[in-house]
Amino acid sequence: MNDLVKENKLLDTVINSFKIEGKVIRDCRVEVYADKNTVSSILLFAKNQLGYIHLAHMTCVDWIDQGEYEMIYTIYSPVDKITLFVKTRIDRENPVMENIDTIWDQANTYEREMREMFGIEFPGLIGEHDFILEDWDQIPPMRKEFDTHKYAAETFFTRPGREDAKDVRDEINKRSGAKVPEFAKKYSRE
């Protein structure tokens, strides 16, 4: 087992350059917590100076109880083989975030999807607005207050006899008198 030398060195470099906090989760996983205005400078620094050239993923988590969106950028270095997470928080009612597709071209696709699904504004983002959905007139669907089952039951036809959310334990207890019949015993794997 290695003793996390490279991970600690990376963490110290980033923390001391930008005066932020972070920690080493396990081997090959390091995370830092940044303010939303410094994210693009951290990403540019990591890409040009430290060799973190591969943008693996960009995601958004909706913490509705805290009133915030959490944006997580996942970058990877093919030489050191460490994955670095840059995490930041933005406001949920008027979400605006910096556009990083000047650093990586592929971020354009991720940002278009987040604009449509979460309603986040990225100033300077080009590309058609309708990426996945067509003629959508409700709130952005991945927000936690959007009830997808209610919307589906009202818009689409539901066949009668299809109720939702029966408890599995109750149903098993209702049918608990049934046993495996004789002819089927030789096929059961027990």
């Binding site: 693996a56 993923h57 083989k81 994955t83 592929q106 058609e128 309708d130 996945i132 991945m142």
Partner: protein
């Protein structure tokens, strides 16, 4: 020189030449493509929203359907992310079984790629052979898990059932048969002048921009960069097995085809070693009450290598019995939108379908 008018062509959702249900809007001048834009969204099912309404175990029924040609890496990546959150150990025998299932899935997806690539070049004998042989691998899956395409076999903690009696002998016999057939495939596709002339020099992905555009998998190995999740960040028992990672220079369709051709032979090698080295023992670290299982709070990121490239899962848990947020990065997410729009200008219309098959664009992964 006559300047031709620019026309818009919709290589639309109903077309025999595209790989799935998506649209590529082309602006052409004569026979040359001037610009291209991808339109997806025809297969959107809102998986990530549906998973938030299911238990940790019920989410498995939805996960297979993310990537239709090769469903097993999705199950494995989710299981690994949940095991990391829950700190759950996996027994040795289960790890070997998982490796065998992954490599079998890689081989059957290769045969489907083989059919698509040669079908878009106009050679219609190879799909009949390769899809017919793929059925032998699907027979193996049916003996093991009960279903041909969607298995739901890999759970957090191990695998669902142990191997049936005689399955390993049948697998070794199937591997011998397929190894002989791979030489026959070479004769009709890779040694065929039509395919060589059409594939060399077409659809080039430049080496210096490849990682910046987000290229992964055989497309990246076809430009000369040696990168594979199985050796960069070994998972399961890949660090104990002995195999090569083929790379080619050039970045065109021919280089990518050669990379894929060699990879399937390495898969056969891995399966033979795994069957020989597999220990006896437990196959499942049992979860005590699966329908009421809660996972501690935290976030995890797991990656695996599928036949198209790197698949990543970002799982967030808030301590409850349902996943709080699952976000999937499909392997061809960037291939289908960013890379395609950059390498299509300058190609012929007849080569658009050829390039789509070679990049391995799979629309269900892009829009989930």
């Amino acid at each position: 020189m006559i300047r031709e008018k620019e026309t818009t062509l919709y290589l639309g959702p109903q077309h025999p030449g595209i790989t799935g249900n998506m649209m590529v809007k082309l602006k052409v001048q004569g026979d040359t493509v001037v610009s291209a834009s991808t339109h997806v969204g025809y297969l959107h099912r809102a998986f990530e929203k549906l998973i938030e309404r299911r238990n940790w175990i019920q989410a498995f029924t939805l996960l297979c359907r993310f990537c239709v040609p090769e469903p097993d890496p999705m199950e494995l990546t989710y299981a690994r992310a949940v095991e990391e959150l829950d700190n759950r150990e996996v027994p040795e025998r289960a790890k070997y079984i998982r490796v065998i299932v992954m490599e079998l899935a890689r081989m059957q997806a290769f045969m489907l790629w083989y059919a698509g690539q040669s079908g878009s070049a106009g050679l219609y004998l190879t799909p009949q052979w390769s899809v017919g042989d793929r059925n032998y691998i699907l027979d193996l899956f049916e003996d093991l898990t009960g279903g041909r395409i969607y298995h739901m076999y890999i759970w957090p903690g191990g695998v669902r059932r142990d191997l049936p009696k005689g399955w390993t002998d049948k697998t070794l016999r199937t591997m011998d048969y397929i190894e002989k057939r791979l030489d026959e495939y070479n004769k009709i596709l890779f040694d065929n002048t039509i395919f060589q002339k059409r594939a060399q020099g077409v659809g080039i992905v430049p080496k210096d921009k490849a990682i910046e555009w987000g290229v992964v998998g055989p497309v990246l190995r076809g430009t000369g960069i040696r990168s594979d999740v199985r050796i960069d960040e070994p998972y399961e028992v890949y660090d104990k097995l002995d195999f090569d990672i083929p790379t080619q220079e050039g970045g065109d369709i021919w280089a990518r085809a050669l990379v894929r051709k060699e990879e399937v032979r390495q898969s056969i090698r891995i399966i033979r070693q795994a069957i020989a080295d597999m220990p006896e023992g437990e196959y499942y670290n049992k979860v005590s009450n699966p329908m009421k299982w809660t996972v501690p709070a935290g976030q995890a990121w797991a990656r695996t290598e599928s036949v198209r490239g790197e698949i990543g899962f970002h799982v967030t848990s808030d301590g409850g019995n349902k996943p709080y947020r699952v976000h999937v990065k499909g392997a061809a997410y960037t291939h289908g939108v960013t890379v395609l729009e950059k390498i299509l200008p300058g190609q012929n219309i007849a080569d658009v379908s050829f390039i789509l098959n070679s990049l391995g664009v799979c629309p269900p992964e892009i829009e989930r």
